[in-house]
């Protein structure tokens, strides 16, 4: 029996700066995870549809456009309606500290800003997975 952490990395909204997303895709795959990259301009609906079909454990959103206060809660809400809020919703980008805190209060996971090491994200996901999957 072989179990793999499956992660969806998506870029919602209109900004096209996908370097960060691609770096994290590569880093997570190198850490032994199966990473689905769904590309740019994803709507929250598309992201949740993909997450369900791919049966991922984790969704990581990369947002640099400033729309994080809208998009993160929307994806979380859709996951709840689909009864899949067992999925960890995390991400990164240009997100002010106070916004990170209020998003975390809503039930969104840790968010990673500029300068974060990829190893921090990997450790965070692995730790979460081990705690939440018997």
């Amino acid at each position: 029996m072989e179990r793999k952490i499956r992660v969806l990395i998506a870029k919602p909204g209109l900004d096209g700066h996908d370097r960060g997303a691609k770096v994290i895709v590569r880093a997570l795959a190198d850490a032994g995870m199966e990473v689905i990259y769904s590309g740019l301009h994803q709507t929250p609906e598309k992201i949740v549809k993909t997450a369900i079909e791919e049966d991922v454990n984790v969704i990581g959103l990369s947002i640099l456009s400033g729309a994080h206060m809208t998009i993160f809660p929307k994806v979380l809400e859709l996951l709840k309606t689909e009864n899949r809020n067992d999925i960890l919703l995390t991400g990164g980008g240009i997100i002010p500290e106070e916004d990170m805190e209020s998003l975390m209060k809503l039930g969104i996971g840790k968010l990673f800003g500029p300068g974060s090491k990829t190893s921090e994200t990997i450790d965070y996901i692995e730790k979460w997975y081990n705690e939440n999957n018997k």
Binding site: A29, T50, E53, D55
Partner: protein
């Protein structure tokens, strides 16, 4: 969700399908139980394999095919296989990136699959996922694999029509491909035909194909530009023709039956080797030759009279 997985699946719950696929992929006991239960019941779909070297536009072609095929019936399942790293075990699954048409159809279900280290080859897991999608109600399956190494032969085993995708620049390397990829295609496609050299590539492929003395179906060679949906309808027509050919010559059923035998072979190999690994220490300690050890194990298996196996029930 876990307890009612099978009944949710039968009710058409996509989440149940997705979860069962995971259980089967992870080779869990529960997954195997569910697949055994679903195996003999329900819908069987038509399976189209798409293979070819990296970068020829397989996912883009799947995306274009999706649009054309959904005009007929949009209950389509897609299995997109990408390689796992043999070093880290991880995988980057990026085929969905090019399949944006899928969001237009409620009934299209895509699953990205990492090849993992499965000893039974790609086909073991993919075959199971295909069966699950069929039982879920998918009438057409598109199975995409990177055509390097063994995987293209595996795809032939589990699909009804194999499309081999090439690009105009593939022309020169076709000689080299003769031994492998040229024999598995039922339909050959030169994608990115808006680029120079497409006609020449078509000619090259036709020449190589004419060297095959296989009787029966002669694979057509089609030019498309998947990105612009150019000529994709001709590809769909060829798929239909091939399907009709298989049907009228009673090959469809025959091929599917031999598929079952191959699957059993694959599974046996997989289980056998896994079992053998448990005996590693004993094998290493033994002074006997590898041949003798192998014979010893075989003798033990041959003791079972296979007739007895089928008497039960």
């Amino acid at each position: 969700m876990n307890n009612n997985l099978l009944s949710d699946f039968r009710k058409g719950d996509k989440k149940a399908l997705a979860r069962i696929i995971t259980l089967v992929e992870n080779e869990t006991k529960k997954g195997m139980e569910i697949i055994s239960e679903l195996y003999s019941e329900g819908n069987v779909g038509y399976r189209i394999g798409i293979t070819g070297p990296p970068g020829v536009g397989k996912s883009t072609t799947v995306n274009a095919l999706l649009k054309e095929l959904s005009l007929i019936d949009e209950n389509i399942g897609i299995i997109a296989v990408d390689p796992s790293s043999p070093f880290t075990g991880g995988a980057m699954l990026g085929d969905r990136l090019r399949m944006n048409n899928s969001y237009d159809y409620e009934n299209v279900f895509i699953r990205s699959v990492a090849s993992r280290g499965s000893l039974g080859g790609l086909s073991a897991a993919t075959e199971n996922i295909a069966v699950l999608m069929e039982r879920f109600g998918k009438n057409t399956l598109l199975i995409e694999t990177v055509g390097v190494g063994q995987s293209e032969l595996d795809i032939m085993e589990i699909t009804d029509t194999v499309i081999v995708l090439l690009v105009p620049e593939s022309g020169d390397s076709i000689q080299a491909m003769k031994a492998g990829i040229m024999e598995i295609g039922d339909i050959f496609v030169v994608n990115k035909a808006d680029r120079e050299g497409a006609d020449r590539a078509v000619q090259y492929i036709k020449t190589v194909l004419s060297l095959n003395d296989k009787k029966g179906w002669i694979p057509p060679v089609i030019k498309i530009t998947a990105k612009n949906n150019d000529n994709v309808n001709e590809l769909v027509d060829s798929i239909k023709e091939h399907k009709n050919y298989l049907k009228t010559n009673k090959l469809l059923d025959k091929n599917r039956k031999s598929r079952k035998i191959e699957e059993v072979e694959n599974l046996l190999r997989d289980m056998f080797i896994k079992n053998l690994k448990l005996n590693r220490e004993k094998i290493i300690k033994s002074n006997e030759s590898p041949y003798k050890i192998a014979m010893k194990i075989m003798n033990n298996i041959e003791k079972v009279d296979t007739e007895d196996l089928w008497k039960e029930k």
